[in-house]
C-alpha cells in the first residue's frame, strides 16, 4: 500500500447530498463556540442546566470479566465522568468514546483517523445513523440499489424518502456483483444513476450470509466506475471472529466454538484502500448485539462531508446521543482495552454458535425435505425456504395462520423484500428462545408445513 492514501476531495460529495442536506442551516449557537473557546473569555452563552440540581451523586457498575465469567469487574465513574454523563455533550459523540472508537477502527480496518478524509460520529443506535445518512443522500425519486433480501428495519426508511429502490439479488456468497454489473451497464442513458448501494456484507440479516472477497472487490470496482456510495450496513461480523487458540477458559466449554469456518473477510471500509482512491464507503457499526441494545449507541465511519451532513441533522433533530450511556461505554472500553473487548465478542460468538448448532440439529431432524436452508455462519437467524408445493412462492399465509395456530411465530420473508414480492422464505430468530423450547418450536413448524402440504395435495 502506498504510504499516503489518496482520498476524494470534499467538493466531490456535493453531487451526492440531498436538497435537504444542502439547505440545512447550522445551529446559530454552536457557530459561536469557537469564540467562546477564546482563552480568558467568560461565557454567559450556554443554556446548560446547572449540574448541582441533578439528583445523581455517583454511579458505578460491574461487568463480567470476559476472561473469567465468575469474576466481576467493578467500574466507578469519576466525578468528571459522571458530570459529563449527566450534561449536554457534543453532537457527534463524547471525545473519550470517539477516541477509543477511532483507535478501534484503525486496529480492525487499518484506517487511520487523521489525514485520510474520513471521520466517525456516534449516533443513537445504528438505525439512527442509517436514517440520517439516507436522508442526507436521497431526494425523492433518486435511485438506490438495495441488496435483496434486505434487513426489514431499513426498508421503511427508503420508502419514507420515496427512493426508487432497485433490488440486487444476493445468494449464499452475498450480493451478486454480476447482477449489479448488469443493472449498471444497462442503466438507461437519460436516467440519473443510483447514488447509493445498501448492503450488509457480513452475517446479513435475514440470511446470515457473508459476501465473498471476490464479490466485495467487484462491488468496489463498480462503485468507482459508476460512482455510487456503498452503505456498509450494520453487521454481525464480530460474531465470527477468528479462532483463537491462545486462551483457556476452563469453565466455558463452548469457548472454542468459533462461529464460521472461513477467516474473516476484510470490510469494504478496509478493502477500499486497495482502490485508486478512498471515500466511497460509509460504514455502520453497532453495540446493540455486543454490549446492550438499550444503551442505543452506534457509530458511522466514512467521508467527512457525509458524516458532517449526518451531524447537522442530529444538531437539529435530537441534539446528540445520550451522554450517560456513552460515558458508561467509554469507561468500560477503556477498562477492558482492545484485546479484552475482542475476547468478549468471541464469547458472544460462541454463545450464538452453540444455539445455532442446537437449532440446526432440530431443523435436520424435523424439516429435512420440508424446507431448504444454509446454516448461518453469523448472526442469530435461520433463513429457510418452505417446500409446500412446486411453484408455491408464499410463506406468509402458512406462517400467519397455520404456524400461528400451532403456537409458533416467525417472520414471513416478504418483509425483507424491498419491493414486497411474495417469497417462500421465512426468518426464524434463535437468540431469545429458550434452548429447551427449540425442538418444540421446530416440531410445530413441521406440523404447520405438513398441514399446508396436505391441503395443497402434496403427500
Amino acid at each position: 500500500m502506498a504510504d499516503a492514501l489518496k482520498y476524494l476531495p470534499e467538493s466531490y460529495y456535493t453531487r451526492y447530498l440531498s436538497e435537504g442536506a444542502k439547505s440545512r442551516k447550522p445551529s446559530p449557537i454552536r457557530g459561536l463556540f469557537p469564540l467562546e473557546a477564546t482563552p480568558g473569555v467568560l461565557s454567559l452563552l450556554a443554556g446548560k442546566p446547572n449540574e448541582e440540581t441533578f439528583p445523581f451523586t455517583s454511579m458505578n457498575f460491574a461487568v463480567r470479566s470476559p476472561l473469567d465469567h465468575s469474576v466481576d469487574i467493578p467500574i466507578t465513574l469519576s466525578p468528571a465522568q459522571l458530570a459529563k454523563g449527566l450534561q449536554y455533550s457534543e453532537t457527534g459523540g463524547i471525545p473519550a468514546l470517539c477516541a477509543w472508537l477511532n483507535a478501534f477502527q484503525e486496529r480492525v480496518h487499518g484506517r487511520k483517523a487523521h489525514g485520510e478524509g474520513w471521520r466517525l460520529s456516534v449516533g443513537s443506535g445504528s438505525q439512527d445513523l442509517i436514517y440520517k445518512a439516507c436522508t442526507a443522500l436521497i431526494d425523492p425519486g433518486d435511485s438506490m440499489l438495495v441488496e435483496t433480501p434486505c434487513y426489514a428495519g431499513v426498508i421503511p426508511i427508503f420508502q419514507g424518502l420515496h427512493a426508487n429502490m432497485v433490488e440486487v439479488d444476493a445468494d449464499a456468497h452475498g450480493i451478486k456483483s454480476s447482477t449489479l454489473r448488469t443493472i449498471l451497464e444497462n442503466w438507461p442513458q437519460d436516467k440519473p444513476k443510483p447514488k447509493v448501494l445498501y448492503t450488509v456484507p457480513y452475517g446479513g440479516n435475514p440470511t446470515g450470509m457473508t459476501a465473498s472477497l471476490e464479490r466485495r472487490k467487484e462491488v468496489l470496482e463498480l462503485a468507482r466506475i459508476h460512482e455510487f456510495i456503498i452503505l456498509e450496513g450494520k453487521s454481525f461480523e464480530f460474531f465470527s471472529a477468528k479462532l483463537r487458540t491462545d486462551l483457556t477458559v476452563p469453565d466455558d466449554p463452548y469457548y472454542f466454538l468459533y462461529y464460521g469456518d472461513h477467516p474473516r473477510y476484510p470490510s469494504y471500509f478496509e478493502l477500499e484502500q486497495q482502490e485508486p482512491e478512498v471515500g466511497r464507503v460509509l460504514r455502520f457499526d453497532s453495540f446493540s448485539k455486543i454490549l446492550s441494545a438499550g444503551i442505543r449507541i452506534g457509530f458511522v465511519s466514512g467521508p467527512a462531508p457525509l458524516v458532517q451532513a449526518i451531524d447537522m441533522h442530529t444538531a437539529s433533530a435530537n441534539l446528540q446521543t445520550a451522554s450517560l450511556t456513552q460515558v458508561i461505554v467509554a469507561a468500560l472500553l477503556e477498562k477492558w482495552g482492545f484485546e479484552t473487548f475482542i475476547t468478549h465478542t468471541e464469547y458472544v460468538s460462541a454463545f450464538y454458535r452453540r444455539r445455532r448448532d442446537v437449532y440446526n440439529a432440530a431443523m435436520e431432524k424435523y424439516l429435512t425435505g420440508l424446507a431448504e436452508w444454509d446454516s448461518p455462519e453469523a448472526g442469530m437467524f435461520f433463513w429457510f425456504k418452505l417446500k409446500i408445493k412446486e411453484g408455491e412462492e408464499d410463506s406468509e399465509s402458512v406462517i400467519r395462520t397455520k404456524a400461528f395456530e400451532k403456537g409458533v411465530i416467525a417472520l414471513p420473508g416478504t418483509s425483507f423484500i424491498p419491493l414486497g414480492a411474495k417469497t417462500a422464505f421465512v426468518r426464524a430468530s434463535f437468540s431469545i428462545i429458550k434452548e429447551e423450547d427449540i425442538e418444540e418450536s421446530v416440531r410445530r413448524l413441521r406440523d404447520a408445513i405438513l398441514e399446508a402440504r396436505k391441503e395443497a395435495g402434496v403427500v
Partner: protein, 476 residues
C-alpha cells in the same frame, strides 16, 4: 409557586367532548400519512401471546451482555439545606439488577418503557388533568427529538406555522428544514401579544390555508425569560379554537418557575378546564416536557402529551428513524421516580426551582450594579435561566447589513438601536465576555439590540466579573 393549583377561579370542570380521530387527518402531513409501519415492530404484540414460542424478533440474548449490576447514589429530595447533600443519610442508593437490568439493556417500545410511560401519564393526570380518553404520553430521546417528530408529523412544505418571536434558537433549523412558511408572532413582557396573533389571523389572506400550529415556550421562555400570563394563555386558547390551529406547548422550564405569583396553568390543562360554550372539543394542545433541566440532560429523556392521532404518527416516525429512546436512561429515571413517588418528585423540583431563584437573585444584584445605570434594559425573569437584555449599544458599533434582515413584519425598529451581533463579536469578546446575540432567536435573523444572558452555570464572582466586562464594553 405550588404546582397543580386551580388555574383560574372563573373556570370549572365540565364534560367536554374529545375531538374525533378524523379531526387530525387534515393536520397530519403527507409524510406521516404515508409512512409504513415497521413490519417487525408491528408484530411485537403477537409474540407476547401466552404459549407462543417466539422466533420473530432479532432481540439479542441479554445473557451475552456483560453488565451485571448498576448502582446509583441519589440525593434525597427532602434533604435539608442546599442541593448539596449534607450527610450520607441524605443519599439513597439504587441498585439496578436482575430483571430491571435486563430490561434496561434490551430493546424496548417506540413509545418508551411501559412502566415509565405509565408513571409519566399519572403525573400528567395530576398535573394537567388529562385522561385516557383525551390524551396519552410518548417518550422521546429528549424533547428536541419529539419536537422534530411533531413538526414532521404536521407540516407539509408550503404550510404555514406561527412561531413566537423571539423564539428558542434550536427549533429554527427544525422548521426551516420542513420548508414551511413561518409567521412570526410578537411577544412582550406578558408573553405572546394577543393583538399580533389576532391581527395575523384576522388579516389572513382569503383562500390561503390557515396556519396549522402555534409554537410557544410558555414558562421562562428561551430566550426572553418571560412566563406567559394566564390572561394571555386564555386569549391564545380562544384563538386556537376559533381559527382551529394546534398549540405546541414546549415547556422544558415548567418546573423551574420561581415567581412570587401563583403559577399560570398550562395550555394542556386550560384546554380541559376552560368551558367552551361552542363545544369545539379537546385536543388542540400538544405538550412537551423534559427531564433535561431537572434530572440530567445527558439521559436524553423527554415526553409529549396530547392527542393520540398525532402521537401515533410520531411513534411511527420513531420506529423507522431511531427505533426508541434509550432504554437504559429510562430505567435509571424510572427507578428514581418510583423510589420518590410523585410527592418526592415535587419536593425535588421545588428544590431545583429554588436553586435557580437563588441564582437569579444574585444575578439581578450584579445586573443592577453593572448595567443599571442606563446601559441596558431588561425584565427580571420569574423562571428558568435566561435574561433577555436590550443593550444600549454605542454608536461607534456600526450596523452590519445582513441580506435576510429585511423580510418579515419587523419594522426594523430594533435595527436603529444597534446590532448586538457586531457588538458581541467585536467589543464584548475583545473585552473577555461572550453572550448570545439576539438575532439567533429570530426566524428571520433580524438585527436586534437584544442579547440573551444565561446565568445557570455562574458563581457570584463570575457574574460580577462577566457583567463588569460587559458594561466596560458598552462604555467603550
Amino acid at each position: 409557586m405550588a404546582i397543580g393549583t386551580d388555574p383560574a377561579a372563573s373556570t370549572s370542570k365540565i364534560a367536554q367532548a374529545t375531538l374525533p380521530d378524523g379531526f387530525y387527518s387534515k393536520f397530519l402531513s403527507n409524510a406521516a400519512q404515508t409512512r409504513k409501519a415497521s413490519s417487525i415492530r408491528s408484530l411485537f404484540a403477537v409474540e407476547a401471546l401466552p404459549g407462543m414460542i417466539p422466533m420473530l424478533v432479532g432481540r439479542p440474548n441479554p445473557a451475552t451482555y456483560p453488565f451485571e449490576r448498576v448502582t446509583l447514589d441519589v440525593k434525597s429530595p427532602y434533604a435539608s439545606g442546599s442541593t448539596t447533600p449534607d450527610s450520607q443519610s441524605d443519599i439513597e442508593t439504587i441498585d439496578i439488577v436482575g430483571d430491571d437490568l435486563s430490561e434496561a439493556l434490551q430493546y424496548s417500545q417506540s413509545f418508551g418503557v411501559p412502566a415509565l410511560n405509565k408513571w409519566l401519564f399519572t403525573l400528567m393526570q395530576q398535573e394537567h388533568g388529562v385522561s385516557q380518553a383525551d390524551a396519552r404520553v410518548t417518550i422521546g430521546a429528549g424533547s428536541q427529538d419529539l419536537l422534530y417528530k411533531a413538526f414532521t408529523a404536521i407540516v407539509n412544505p408550503g404550510d404555514s406555522i406561527m412561531v413566537e418571536a423571539p423564539t428558542y434558537p434550536g427549533v429554527i433549523p427544525v422548521i426551516d428544514a420542513l420548508r414551511c412558511e413561518i409567521v412570526q408572532i410578537d411577544t412582550d413582557s406578558q408573553g405572546i401579544s394577543p393583538t399580533s396573533l389576532e391581527r395575523t389571523l384576522e388579516e389572513w389572506p382569503l383562500g390561503k390555508p390557515f396556519p396549522k400550529v402555534l409554537y410557544t415556550v410558555p414558562y421562562g421562555a428561551n430566550p426572553t425569560g418571560v412566563t406567559t400570563s394566564l390572561v394571555r394563555r386564555l386569549d391564545n386558547l380562544q384563538l386556537a379554537r376559533k381559527y382551529n390551529f394546534l398549540i405546541f406547548e414546549d415547556d422544558p422550564y415548567y418546573y423551574l418557575y420561581f415567581g412570587e405569583d401563583q403559577r399560570p396553568a398550562s395550555y394542556l390543562s386550560l384546554e380541559r378546564t376552560v368551558v367552551d360554550p361552542q363545544q369545539r372539543g379537546i385536543g388542540r394542545v400538544l405538550r412537551f416536557d423534559s427531564l433535561s433541566k431537572i434530572f440530567a440532560a445527558g439521559l436524553r429523556v423527554g415526553w409529549a402529551t396530547g392527542p393520540k392521532q398525532i402521537l401515533n404518527a410520531m411513534d411511527g416516525h420513531t420506529s423507522t428513524a431511531n427505533l426508541q429512546p434509550p432504554t437504559f436512561s429510562q430505567i435509571v429515571a424510572l427507578k428514581v421516580l418510583q423510589s420518590w413517588g410523585i410527592p418526592g418528585f415535587r419536593a425535588h423540583v421545588d428544590r431545583v426551582a429554588n436553586f435557580y431563584k437563588g441564582k437569579r437573585d444574585a444575578f439581578e444584584k450584579y445586573m443592577q450594579l453593572h448595567l443599571g445605570n442606563g446601559l441596558a434594559e431588561w425584565q427580571t425573569p420569574d423562571a428558568a435561566m435566561f435574561y433577555w437584555v436590550k443593550l444600549n449599544i454605542p454608536e461607534t458599533v456600526t450596523c452590519s447589513v445582513r441580506p435576510d434582515t429585511t423580510t418579515a413584519g419587523s419594522d426594523d425598529e430594533d435595527a436603529n438601536q444597534g446590532d448586538s451581533k457586531t457588538f458581541v463579536e467585536i467589543k464584548a469578546v475583545d473585552n473577555g465576555v461572550i453572550v448570545l446575540p439576539g438575532t439567533s432567536s429570530f426566524v428571520d435573523g433580524r438585527t436586534t439590540a437584544y442579547v440573551r444572558i444565561s446565568f445557570s452555570l455562574l458563581d457570584e464572582a463570575q457574574m460580577d466579573e462577566g457583567l463588569r466586562r460587559l458594561s466596560e464594553a458598552l462604555k467603550m
